[in-house]
């Protein structure tokens, strides 16, 4: 902790509260409290996605946290999918996990939570201030905390859609888009709107998804490209595709790099999901304590505002202002009516059936 910067000074205790009473607490803090605090580790390792993702996290959460506590933050840029077996193996073998905090998709975090390799976060003080979105669905406590939401929008190049934004996902079946569409390679984000576009209902998920697979079959004839987050940005930038079902952040990234891109939520709806943070089991007591402080800080308005401005995504605390380019944007839902056209399916239904959906999608696309 540096005392040379009283303006930004923040104590551990104030971290435990909401940030509102910051200054006052720092002034009256008795030194005794310090003695009760567990020993500070020299650094915490936070798994993060690279590029603008980690830059945003650094600006909004990691750097201010370091400034307040003196604890250095190291970012591990291993993919969320690829760190998972490492954490699971460490837990199974009783080793200290390779990271302190995992910034993860809610779906992947749910798997780890079900497996029992996550620490409970129910005692984070800032949860009291967070919206309902922060709570993971289907769990008693908080084996993880959701930190923001995002939409799998239909991103498109306006040039290719002279009649305005596509009102329906079916629009993509136009023969002129053959080979010019991109989807995630496991079909994530596309299954649910496809279920509606194929004539089915959301209530039938997961028991009857024939409609979804029929629509995917139709889409297969369009020979879509299949990829992951960075691919979408690259493909838009290189003019390989006209439209994609992707997280709005990827489209926004390409737009910021000067590519003309818009996005929309078609009438069938678009998938809404969340990302979150969690702490793997097996950390020493003091490191666990400070890892919790990190996540607690990530739930402050101050941290969320900067972090999520970078990502262009809606957070989980009240009072955030959207970035200028995303006011009233479909990818930045804040009011209940904004959610009307968004599809949200519980993490547990997703993880229990994901493998089946995934192999079905692959079977169609690889066929």
């Amino acid at each position: 902790m540096t005392h040379s910067r009283p303006r930004r000074q923040l104590t551990r205790r104030s971290l435990l509260r909401s940030t509102a009473a910051l200054g006052a607490t720092a002034a009256i803090l008795p030194s005794k409290i310090w003695a009760q605090e567990p020993e500070k580790p020299s650094e915490l390792i936070v798994r993060a996605w690279g590029g603008s993702w980690v830059e945003s996290l650094k600006a909004g959460v990691s750097d201010p946290f370091t400034e307040m506590t003196g604890i250095r933050i190291r970012h591990d840029l291993t993919e969320d999918n690829e760190i998972q077996p490492k954490i699971w193996a460490a837990a199974a073998q009783g080793r200290v996990p390779p990271i302190h905090i995992n910034w993860d998709t809610t779906t992947n975090a749910t798997k780890s939570a079900l497996r029992g390799v996550t620490e409970d976060l129910s005692d984070l003080p800032n949860l009291a201030n967070a919206t309902e979105l922060a709570k993971p669905v289907g769990f008693d406590g908080y084996p993880m905390v959701n930190t923001y939401g995002y939409v799998y929008v239909l991103a498109y190049r306006p040039e290719a859609f002279p009649d305005g934004p596509p009102a329906s996902w079916r629009h993509l079946l136009d023969p002129k888009f053959k080979g010019r569409i991109a989807l995630y390679n496991d079909g994530i984000g596309f299954h649910f709107p496809a279920q509606v576009a194929g004539g089915g209902t959301l209530a039938d998920i997961p028991s009857n998804m024939t409609a979804c697979w029929d629509f995917v079959e139709e889409m297969k004839a369009q020979e879509p490209l299949l990829g992951e987050d960075p691919d979408f940005t690259t493909w838009f930038q290189n003019g390989e595709i006209d439209a994609a079902c992707t997280i709005s952040t990827n489209a926004r990234e390409a737009r910021m790099n000067g590519v003309d891109i818009q996005w929309t939520v078609p009438e069938e709806g678009a998938k809404f999901d969340t990302d979150g943070m969690w702490i793997p089991v097996g950390l020493p007591e003091n490191e666990l304590y400070w890892a919790k402080q990190y996540i607690n800080f990530a739930l402050t308005q101050q941290a969320q505002q900067v972090w999520l401005d970078g990502l262009g995504l809606p957070g989980v605390v009240p009072g955030l202002t959207p970035p200028a380019d995303l006011v009233d944007d479909a990818s930045y839902p804040t009011q209940p009516e904004d959610f009307k056209n968004l599809i949200r399916i519980s993490g547990q239904i997703q993880v229990e059936n994901e493998s089946e959906w995934f192999s079905k999608f692959k079977a169609i696309m690889q066929g």
Binding site: I45, W49, G50, G51, S52, W53, V54, R74, H75, D76, L77, T78, E79, E82, P85, K86, A89, A90, Q93, R95, P98, I99, E228, D229, P230, T233, T234, Q237, E253, N257, G258
Partner: protein, 266 residues
């Protein structure tokens, strides 16, 4: 070279094609690293060295590069004696169960790298040695060992039993014979193999990804991880610096031992 005209034409067409295909990505990456824009493109969008400037400040990349050098050194130090001995043995002697042995020694290539990575992660994890660099070096030696073995046994064509027998009959001991007769004969293979082991370990990312953590991440893993999110021109710049280091190493090698050594087995 005594060659007919048609032979020359055919060879040159094929080799020319191969040269273009081998070098094209290198040229493009080199060019893309000089862009002044934010997107990796070729031809570059204006010329600038800004991505190299950004690189110069990235201490983490430099550390990662040094770690990679260390891993590659360990890998080579392990693979060199192990592979040389095995290569000589396979070339010189007719072993029983040789087919089975060959299949076994090819396991590093028939096991998919993801399988090797997961397996080694579990084994090293059980032994509590993860979080250090030397297991990564040993892993790299294991997964690329066939290259070392074959490079040596391929150059064993120059091995001459008569010469070894002569040495022995002149009273040379086994160690002496090995050091003065056998080893020099396979030296080109040993050098080719060692260089390959070093280079491959320097660039290994899939197995290393599972065996390293953020504190000991190596350069290829760092690049791989960064690319997974977004590919920016600084990654092209890293590759160019890498190539430059390689070029210097090759030039030094050429000065010291001569590049021809790869091809001489006499």
């Amino acid at each position: 070279m005594t060659a007919s005209r048609s032979q020359r034409v055919v060879i040159w067409i094929l080799v020319g094609l191969a040269l273009v295909v081998l070098s094209a990505p290198t040229v493009v990456v080199l060019g893309a690293s000089l862009t002044s824009g934010n997107i990796i493109t070729f031809p570059p969008d204006g010329l600038s060295l800004k991505w190299y400037a950004k690189l110069a400040q990235a201490a983490d990349l430099r550390d990662a590069f040094l770690r990679s050098l260390w891993v590659a050194s360990i890998c080579t130090a392990v693979a060199l004696p192990v592979g040389t001995l095995a290569g000589i043995a396979l070339a010189k002697f007719r072993l029983r169960f040789e087919n089975a042995l060959q299949i076994y020694l090819l396991l590093p290539f028939t096991i998919p790298l993801i399988g090797s990575g997961i397996g080694l992660m579990l084994v090293f994890g059980e032994w509590r040695v993860l979080g250090q660099l030397w297991p990564v070096g040993i892993a790299c030696a294991a997964i690329n060992l066939p290259f070392m073995i074959w490079a040596v046994s391929a150059s064993a064509g120059a091995l001459n039993d008569d010469l070894e027998l002569a040495a022995a009959s002149c009273g040379a001991g086994r160690v002496q014979t090995f050091v003065h007769v056998t080893l020099p004969a396979v030296l080109p293979g040993v050098i080719t193999g060692s260089l390959l082991m070093f280079i491959l370990a320097l660039n290994e990312f899939l197995v290393s990804l599972l065996l390293t953590d953020a504190r000991i991440v190596t350069l290829p893993v760092q690049i791989y991880n960064s690319i997974r999110s977004i590919i920016t021109p600084d990654l092209a710049a890293v590759s160019v610096v890498f190539i430059a280091c390689a070029a210097v190493a090759i030039a030094v090698l050429d000065r010291v031992v001569g590049l021809d050594i790869f091809l001489k087995s006499k």
